[in-house]
């Protein structure tokens, strides 16, 4: 039987302004998690009952550790940031389908926007061949070193060019004359949409990890839908971000929302 976990926080650290890295003692999930999967993190009971979906940033199978990296953007993430080492949290997972990994692919392009970067770390560990990462941030980059540690060649863009390239990640991709065999992308929807357009232009297949508001996280409530093209039809159907995704093929997503 699957179950809810109450892991202990073994580390919590503010790695950049309002961005935290939390390590959980969570052997069961560390053992089986795939890159691109997420967990439901719950607030203490009270005002905020719904789970916060957070991507698995990295796992350590041997030590049984799951690392998350999250931005404080609202009440839930703020409450997580106040938790201290030794306290426990309520977790459901691993949830969703991760990135598809094809061993025959040799040149990988990771594209991350802001707080979409975390799942790319675990992904990089699973890929073989050459890996490029193009990361876009508003101001301060995160997790660059971590990616480089896994042999990834990282390019950074920031809105005002304070660090790296000045502009967005698509401009950066074009600027670098990037090419490759598969795109893996995570970030805000407008960025994913732009990635999707660029990928089509370039004729590269792209996987995009999409965010939507979650209630159950296990495919029950039909709350987290994303419009998906039906094969060989003009029509579309609803896919569930939590169980059909969060990773989808960019060419099959209906972007014009």
């Amino acid at each position: 039987m699957k179950k809810v976990y109450y892991p202990t926080i073994i580390n919590q650290e503010e790695i950049a302004e309002n961005i935290f890295r939390m390590e959980l003692e969570l052997d069961e999930i560390a053992k089986v998690a795939l890159p691109g999967q997420f967990i439901n993190l719950y607030c203490k009971e009270g005002e905020n009952l719904l789970p916060r979906p957070i991507s698995i940033c990295e796992v350590n199978k041997e030590k049984g550790i799951v690392a998350l990296v999250y931005a404080v953007v609202g009440k839930g993430t703020n409450s997580f940031s106040l938790l201290k080492k030794g306290e426990t949290v309520k977790v459901l997972g691993p949830l969703g389908n991760g990135f598809q990994i094809d061993k025959s692919i040799k040149k990988h392009i990771l594209i991350g926007g802001g707080i979409g970067v975390p799942p790319l770390i675990e992904l990089a560990k699973h890929l073989t061949g050459v890996i490029y990462a193009f990361l876009g941030f508003a101001e301060s980059p995160i997790l660059v070193k971590e990616l480089e540690n896994y042999g990834v060649k990282v390019f950074v863009a920031t809105d005002k060019g304070k660090v790296g390239f000045k502009g967005n990640v698509i401009d950066l991709l074009k600027n670098e004359n990037t090419s490759g065999d598969m795109i893996y992308s995570c970030g805000p929807k407008p960025m994913l949409n732009a990635v999707s357009i660029w990928a089509e232009e370039m004729g590269i297949k792209a996987q995009v990890s999409i965010e939507e508001r979650i209630a159950c996280g296990i495919g029950v409530c039909v709350g987290c839908t994303c419009k998906y093209k039906k094969k060989e039809e003009e029509d579309w159907e609803n896919k569930k971000v939590c169980t059909d995704g969060p990773v989808f093929w960019s060419e099959e997503v209906v972007w014009n929302e």
Binding site: K3, V4, E47, L49, C216, V220, E237, N238
Partner: protein, 304 residues
């Protein structure tokens, strides 16, 4: 002390205990069967189903609120044929009753679903009268006694299984709607459906839900639900299935003391996948502590 008798009887159907799932919050049970033993539930109430597939509303469909949530799923469902082909056979593997919640935009559509289900071995039908009546300019069936009675009567005529009518709380006088449903032939009532609500993202200056409004559920609404169950239980003779914010056994007992025969767990499934079992265990514990040997006694024991 012996284990208390938790069996309940709704319109001739015997449930091993009063704990059910609220429609739309349990899918058709498959996902939660990985977390709990479905055999322990009194009944599984399947998500709302219509004749043809419905696409529901655009996303976002979920908004969190204080002690609750809004949803604007809009009754997305793959249609009754998929339910019959995939979900019913799955649930039949378990020793629990199957109640199918049905949706429609016209009286005819409701009737078609009920008729089609009559050809199956499901145990009961739950008629969700919170849907908009397209022929009456989109007014919700369940907010008008006349329409409520009319649709109940029409479905009752074609239904092979006992009929539960599920009431919406967005009304001035819930008793008049309850009486209308009973007059129309309802064998039982379930209540409450969600309260109509709205939430706004003040930074984006937009409603959070693409549909603008949605249905409020969760512990925030429990006092309204308990009040309505209490009012209706005094006014009608059919059994009531109570729901609205049940999180644990104590909450369920509160509904029973208010007059409910059965109870259903809704939103709490999302926050706690094993909630139904905890509710069941909690009820049993309460019965032992308060020396109830029979679940029906609870319903009759409210003092004033």
């Amino acid at each position: 002390m012996n284990n208390p008798n938790m069996k309940i009887n709704i319109a001739g159907v015997e449930l091993k205990n009063p704990v059910m799932t609220a429609s739309g919050t349990f899918g058709s049970g498959k996902e939660y069967s990985e977390y709990i033993n479905l055999n322990r539930l009194g009944a599984v109430v399947v998500k709302g189903v219509s004749m043809k597939p419905w696409k529901g509303n655009p996303s976002p469909r979920i908004a969190e609120t204080y002690g609750g949530m809004l949803n604007s799923v809009g009754l997305q469902n793959p249609g009754v044929e998929v339910l019959i082909k995939e979900d019913i056979p799955f649930l039949r593997q378990y020793d629990t009753k199957i109640i199918v919640n049905i949706a429609g935009k016209t009286v005819e559509e409701y009737c078609q679903v009920a008729e089609r289900l009559g050809e199956t071995d499901i145990d009961m039908i739950e008629l969700n009268i919170s849907c908009p009546n397209v022929k009456e300019g989109g007014v919700c069936f369940g907010t008008d006694p006349f329409m409520a009675e009319h649709v109940t009567k029409a479905v009752k005529k074609v239904a092979k299984q006992p009929l539960i009518v599920k009431l919406t709380p967005n009304v001035t006088d819930i008793v008049s709607i309850a009486k209308a449903a009973v007059a129309g032939g309802a064998d039982a009532l379930s209540m409450i459906n969600t309260l109509l609500g709205m939430a706004i993202d003040i930074n984006k200056k937009r409603p959070i839900l693409a549909n603008i409004v949605g249905g409020l559920s969760g512990p925030a609404i429990k006092p309204v639900a308990v009040r309505m169950v209490h009012e209706v239980a005094k006014a009608v003779d059919v059994p009531i299935i109570g729901m609205g914010g049940i999180m644990n056994g104590d909450d369920a007992i509160e509904f029973m003391l208010a007059g409910a025969t059965g109870v259903a767990v809704g939103m709490t499934n999302f926050t706690n996948p094993t909630a139904t079992i905890e509710v069941l265990d909690g009820i049993e514990k309460y019965m032992k502590k308060h020396e109830f040997s029979n679940i029906d006694e609870i319903r009759k024991s409210l003092q004033y």
